[in-house]
Amino acid sequence: MRLTEKTEVLKERKDSVVTKSKGKRQTVACGMDSTAGTVSQRACVYCGARVVLNPITDAYHIVHGPVGCASYTWDIRGSLSSGSEIYRNSFSTDLREQDIIFGGEKKLAGAIDEIAQAYKPSVIFVYSTCVVGVIGDDIDSVCKDAQRKLNLRVIPVRSTGFAGNKSSGYRAACDAILELIGDAAPVQNRQGINFLGDFNLAAEQWIVRDYFKQIGVKMQTAITGDSTSEGLRCAIKASFNIVQCAGSMHHLARKMEEKYNIPYISVSFYGVEDTARSLRAIAIKTGNDKVIRKSEELIEKKSSETNKRLDFFREHLAGKKAAIYVGGGFKAISLMKQFADIGITAVIVGTQTGLEKEYEILHEIADNGTIILDDSNPFELEGFIREKQADILVGGVKERPLAYKLGVAFLDHNHERKHPLAGFEGALNFAQEAYNTINSPVWRLIRKDWRDT
């Protein structure tokens, strides 16, 4: 089907799909609602909130709604814990027809009671879902009552599915975190840093934590990878915040600056270049000469080690072409640089929820002819992958089988990644994974006649 034709883009989506043209001022329309009827790769408000809060390891996450929302998000993030595993269970009110008619507040209160009786929860998050938003359950007051009655933290997450998009969910999650830390007493001697926007997928945060240790910087609290409710409350002790996944954490960083006077800087630990740059920025921000010296030593040592080992991959991957379709903008930017570092050109780059600023950067660093797109669908991705003859696609769950069907290699940069991709070690894993999948003998066994056309 449509073998050699140019990929068709729906009229409504024309502004969200841009072919980079040097010297031309181009903008990618983003942040808009998806066109009804498309096979969007996007999710909902609840999804956004759930993925951000899920890594809080000792939290009881109650999904208030029919069972689906709870079952689809049961332990789907590979965010690792060094302590409690309770977050990997699925708690729900499993609303039934009667509850929809008569309201679900009583059931929710009952569910909170039942958790309090069976366990000793440190914090309970209560997520609102689509139907709860419509039947008008007042989860705020149920949570407040339960908190008073049971003497434990019960925090509502305002994540009604239709009330915005995934980004609104990130915001709802940030608000829930703010509510959790909100009542903590102010601290005098602040020290260490909070790491916002890392979720400890495949133990990535532990790699970065180790770098901090080596350069003499204390990681106060990670938000939210491998975090606990107590740890989160201590976040106000930090002297500054570093923000990685800006899409999800920008709101929290801004609020923490406003409320607790904790400034923030942006970082990314994906790729050698960004990792080095981020470590340097953090060291400088501490203003401590010893830390700065140590960070330079670490960067020097690790970069040269890593680069030496990356040379093999550069040699073998040079000239390959990548398609990138991920959730947020920061990751897309890092991935483009990271691919460039091993000789791979990004010919397609897109995100589900990238911000305008991030698209400007993507446009700036993209090669001429690269397709930049927001809120894409499989149809466009398929077309552009073929048109641009990409060798590898980076994405998540829904993109993987699409790539394989097209006979194109795939690298998971989402919840299901199996190896840490952060830091210097992660840069090597990234190259190794790209190398492995691109060089799998399986591609040779597929009849790939569209490439010959």
């Binding site: 089907m1 068709e8 729906l10 609602d33 998806s34 066109t35 009827g37 498309t38 096979v39 969007s40 790769q41 996007r42 999710a43 909902c44 408000v45 999804c47 709604g65 029919p66 069972v67 689906g68 929302c69 079952s71 689809y72 998000t73 049961w74 269970n89 699925s90 708690f91 729900s92 009110t93 609303l95 509850d99 929809i100 209160a109 009952g110 569910a111 009671d113 039942e114 009786q117 069976a118 879902t129 689509c130 139907v131 938003g133 419509v134 239709f162 915005g164 499989p378 149809f379 398929e382 769950v397 829904k398 993987r400 089988p401 069907k405 006979g407 009849r447 790939k448 006649d449 569209w450």
Partner: protein
């Protein structure tokens, strides 16, 4: 570390912990994918569609396509009419399916969108179809959703009352390999049939290096229409398929025969005998020999599993025949649970386990926390269920055999059947394999046996 389940069973009336079911729309979506050239459409928020596609993509390891009405706050207030109108227009313009199969969600159900009236106002291109089923997530389970979409196929398409020389088969919520196996058996008997839905060739489409949005498989529209002329409908399972068969009876007068999903020797016998009774065809030698080989395997290996205790959970139409099969292997299914509500499940299983002299715990609308508690109180040698059983398996150090939906952590199972005599052999291979592997792994050096 993963074990947070207290042994003491307390009464829970509000809280579900670790569900053994999911919601209706994903079942409807899977059923719809079993129509050739069909794009399922989720009338609700984007998240629903995304989650269902993700779940299906993980289980089948295939691209699971579906579109969404992308509800916003405005939609929730003013209704989903304009979203659905726009969706249908866009879907035919961009994706060009033959059929759009709309499922509702808890949101669109609760705000009261009248899909039927919305569709009737939409201009549908010549030769194209739009069907829908109401699949509120707060009723039943994913199995109910599957059942509802099958019923919608019948009420939307089936026509006639000719009682021609063919049968309908409603396979239920089973993997494509099983649909293929059932077609193979029926064809071997020389029987003409329409299978609806038929996801084989859709969610297990061969890799050709091309992406086909609508792979070759799936029940054709002509077949769905023709289903009304069938002599009889065989429906596998009372939960996923019976409603579709009854709808065919109501609409076109096709006699419904509800039988178990043919998993295990007895259920497969029952299926084949039913085919014989309905069509007067005889059982071909090839099938008799298959059965003979299965019985041979059962005799060769019965001491591997005889008397072993098992816990079974999953979807009712699969769990019922699996339990029966375990009994015929001499095993003791002592804990049996489904997340789907329906007391018929309990009655059906109880009858079998009582007859076997077992005092088994049986529950419908249960969750996996409860199953785990049962196992803590009465340990078993084996757990049979979907991927979510792995937490219990790990916590209690009991092997898990993966049968059912979803299976997210193993592959190939959707390509190989568990139905029919061949499927029954595979189940024995799985059971024997894990039990003997366990024995080997735990044996001291002097106890390690070469011949088992």
């Amino acid at each position: 570390m993963l074990d947070h389940t207290p042994k003491r069973i307390t009464n829970r009336s509000a809280l579900v912990v670790n569900p053994a079911k999911t919601c209706q729309p994903v079942g409807a979506m899977y059923a719809a994918l079993g129509i050739h050239g069909c794009l399922p459409h989720s009338h609700g928020s984007q998240g629903c569609c995304s989650y269902h596609r993700m779940h299906l993509a993980r289980h089948f390891r295939e691209p699971a396509m579906a579109s969404t009405s992308s509800f916003t706050e405005g939609t929730a207030v003013f209704g989903g009419r304009s979203n659905l109108e726009e969706s249908v227009k866009n879907i035919f313009a961009i994706y060009d399916p033959d059929v759009i199969a709309i499922n509702t969600t808890c949101l669109s159900e609760t705000i009261g969108d009248d899909i039927s009236s919305i569709i009737s106002d939409i201009e549908i291109p010549e030769g194209k179809h739009v069907i829908f089923s109401n699949t509120p997530s707060y009723q039943g389970s994913h199995i109910t959703g599957f059942s509802n979409m099958v019923r919608a196929m019948v009420t939307s398409f089936a026509q006639g009352s000719a009682r021609d020389d063919f049968i309908n088969i409603i396979p239920g919520f089973i993997d494509p390999a099983d649909m293929r196996e059932i077609k193979r058996i029926t064809s071997l008997m020389g029987i003409h049939f329409v299978m609806l839905p038929d996801a084989s060739g859709v969610v297990d489409a061969p890799n050709t290096g091309r992406y086909e949005m609508y792979p070759k498989g799936g029940t054709r529209i002509e077949e769905l229409i023709r289903a009304g002329n069938a002599k009889v409908t065989i429906a596998f399972g009372w939960f996923a398929s019976a409603e579709g068969a009854y709808a065919l009876e109501r609409k076109c007068g096709v006699t419904p025969e509800i039988i178990q999903t043919p998993i295990g020797i007895e259920a497969t016998d029952e299926f084949i005998m039913q085919l014989v009774r309905m069509t007067g065809k005889s059982v071909p030698n090839e099938l008799e020999e298959e059965r003979g080989r299965l019985v041979d395997i059962m005799t060769d290996t019965h001491f591997h599993f005889h008397g072993k205790k098992a816990a079974v959970f999953g979807d009712p139409d699969i769990v019922i025949p699996v339990t029966q099969y375990l009994l015929s292997l001499g095993m003791k299914p002592v804990h049996i649970l489904t997340g789907t509500p329906g007391e018929y499940f309990v009655k059906k299983i109880k009858k079998m386990t009582d007859k076997a002299g077992l005092n088994s715990r049986v529950k419908a609308a249960g969750d996996l926390m409860e199953l785990h508690q049962w196992i803590k109180n009465e340990p078993v040698d084996l757990i049979i269920g979907n991927t979510y059983g792995k937490y219990i398996s790990k916590a209690e150090n009991i092997p898990l055999i993966r049968i059912g939906f979803p299976i997210l952590d193993r592959s190939v199972q959707t390509y190989l059947p568990i139905t029919g005599y061949v499927g029954a052999m595979r189940i024995i291979e799985k059971i024997s394999g894990v039990l003997l592997d366990r024995q080997d792994a735990e044996a001291s050096d002097e106890d390690l046996e070469l011949v088992m």
